[in-house]
Amino acid sequence: MRYKHLWIWLLVVPVLLLSYAAGWAAFGEDIEKPRPEFSSQDGDWIARLTPRGKNSAIEIRFHVDGGTLKSIADKTYTPETHPQVDPKNFRSDFFSIQADVAHGAEAAVSVSSAYFTSATELWGPSAPGSVTWGPTGATNTALADRVNMLTVKVRDGGPLDADRSANGRIEVIVGPRDSFWGYALGTLFIRFFGIFLVLTILMIGMLLSGKVFEWIAARGRATQLPESTPALEALETVPTAEQNAAEGVAPETVAAIALAFHLNSVKTIPIPPIDDRGASRWAVFGRGKIMADRLPVFDRIQKK
């Protein structure tokens, strides 16, 4: 019997194994490559783009202190040319920033966005033209409105200047880096426990409302009983089988009345109006019970 399920596992394991190699090969695919659109505003440049793993566009503002920002372009790196640069870690793209400065002077290049977090780093080539990337030593400052600003100091002709010459122009190639696996795992735990949190809150809400409803129902039953109606008065004196026999009600009659009430309660056959005068206490009791059972439904519709 257990071997009946074996085929499922036999199907899955080869599929996973076969696809494993193809899967790793696909790491180079970058189907979410951001396509920034640049505009300038008050001397700053702004890139508007949809980062990897996002549905909505974000804005990144570029600013240079100690120089004039001339142009910004996005860069594309492939796994073939830059095997150590995994685009997944650079969800908001790579940028080449060019600025004019005094010959050999130092400028502070800042990149800011509400998309950045306190864990975002600014990475670039460890040496001009190098395929190995590392942190540029940028400082991360939290600004108002949840904006984080990454600032790096670049000297004309210095190690971060891509053209390597003190020619009055600096070119910085950088990418804001957020650890892909850090984000993926972090958000995994947060969201999984988020579901527990949401459903726990719902559970507490339902437990509390359940208690309230049970209390209302118990109170309703308690208040219904003391009311003095002929049917309910009969409830207090439910006749015994001996009393019925003494009154001369045959068991067949009792069964027929019970069946009629049951059919009426399931709305299969309508029962014609009965004259209460002369009805046995069983009949009155049964009718009273049906009316009491139906009362909450009618009550709710009236309150609508």
Binding site: G23, R52, A184, R191, G194, L199, G210, K304
Partner: protein, 382 residues
């Protein structure tokens, strides 16, 4: 007019206006896949309501030159493209299906035992494990989320999330979700037996308390308020779900409730199935990703089942009245199939132990849990 001209004309007609010369081997493969799913639906009865239209959708769009999923010269969508565009791309149909599901659902067992909501949360474990697993195989974050949700065992939620995050995986994800939902009676019992002892499978649970009509009426309002306040991104799905349920429980719009449950549901199911099947054209479908999706989809179901049962074991450490761990597997939201599986496995151990209504609680919690998971993912990528 020479014979050469006539032959050339015939040749041109054959090449440009008939399908036979344009038929490619990959399209033949897709036609075989279509036959496979039609076979599963018709001969095996696996989720026929969905697999049949999906299978037929695959069948139709994999003929060459068919004007079904493209756009005409003046830019209007062709037949199935129109169903897809306005139904799936605009995210309408999954929400309408949730409306119908809400109108069909009796939340009584969940209201009577709200603790089972926690089981529904625990059964989402596979969603997140799969999410991480497929990332290792080069899927993007959005693709991983759309694959992960398969384990929630909720077809409309899977389609809704995939259409939003990774529409190119829609066909594979929907097929995997519905195929494995149909195979719940095969997938779950071995795991359930593996994770429980005989004594645990025999645990009897106290009969559920009666739930008043007023309580059932207010449940969709209370649940919608709490869930939508906490996860606004899930409002389209949960809003429709609770609206459908409110219509049902109000007892004053029986015609609307009936329409949502039957006619409307059937209509959108036809369009949904065809549209989803039609996304599986050979060029899009025949690569390694659908294979991985099917592999991970099964893993997802398995881990979700384990997650539900584990959650019950953990809850039992703290509860005076123990819960039968078999109902943990019903935390995946394949309603009511997985609840029925819990019941069947339970009565094999103890023929007098009726677990069905107890298992419906986590089953319904699973629907809410998987929608909440989808909402979490949508919020993550907003």
């Amino acid at each position: 007019m020479s014979w050469d001209y006539v032959f050339e004309l015939i040749k041109n007609i054959l090449i440009t206006q008939t399908g036979i010369p344009n038929l490619e081997i990959k399209q033949v493969v897709m036609l075989l896949i279509a036959f496979f799913f039609l076979y599963l639906a018709v001969a095996k009865g696996y989720e026929p309501l969905l697999l049949l239209p999906i299978g037929f959708g695959i069948f139709l769009v994999n003929f060459p030159l068919v004007p079904l999923m493209g756009f005409s010269e003046n830019g209007t969508p062709e037949l199935i493209r129109a169903f897809y565009k306005y139904g799936v791309e605009w995210e309408v149909i999954p929400c309408v299906i949730f409306l119908g599901l809400g109108a069909m659902t009796d939340f009584g067992p969940l209201i009577a035992n709200p603790k089972t909501l926690i089981i529904g949360a625990g059964a989402q474990l596979g969603v997140f494990i799969t999410y991480i697993g497929v990332l290792f195989f080069g899927f993007t974050l959005k693709e991983a989320a759309s694959v992960g949700i398969i384990g929630g065992a909720d077809g409309p939620t899977t389609i809704y999330l995939t259409a939003k995050l990774a529409p190119h995986l829609l066909g594979a994800n929907a097929l995997a979700a519905y195929s494995y939902m149909a195979m719940v009676p095969l997938i779950q019992p071995p795991i359930m037996r593996l994770m429980t002892t005989k004594a645990q499978r025999r645990i009897r649970m106290r009969q559920l308390r009666p739930v008043s009509a007023r309580e059932k009426l207010l449940f969709p309002l209370i649940a919608a308020i709490l869930i939508i306040l906490l996860i606004p991104a899930v409002a389209p799905l949960m809003g429709m779900f609770m609206f459908g349920n409110f219509m049902r429980e109000s007892l004053v719009v029986k015609r609307l409730s009936d329409t949502a449950q039957n006619a409307l549901m059937n209509i959108v199911t036809i369009f949904l199935g065809l549209s989803v099947g039609a996304t599986m054209q050979a060029d899009v479908f025949l690569n390694y990703k659908p294979l991985l999706i099917f592999g991970f989809g099964l893993l997802d179901f398995v881990v979700c089942t384990i997650g539900g049962i584990l959650t019950v074991h953990i809850m039992n450490l703290f509860l005076k009245e123990k819960i039968n761990p078999l109902i943990g597997s019903a935390g995946v939201s394949a309603v009511p199939m997985s609840a029925r599986v819990s019941h069947v496995v339970g009565i094999r151990e103890d023929p007098d132990n009726w677990l069905l209504m107890h298992a419906m609680g986590p089953n319904l919690a699973g629907v809410i849990g998987s929608a909440a998971a989808a909402g979490m993912f949508i919020a993550m990528f907003q």
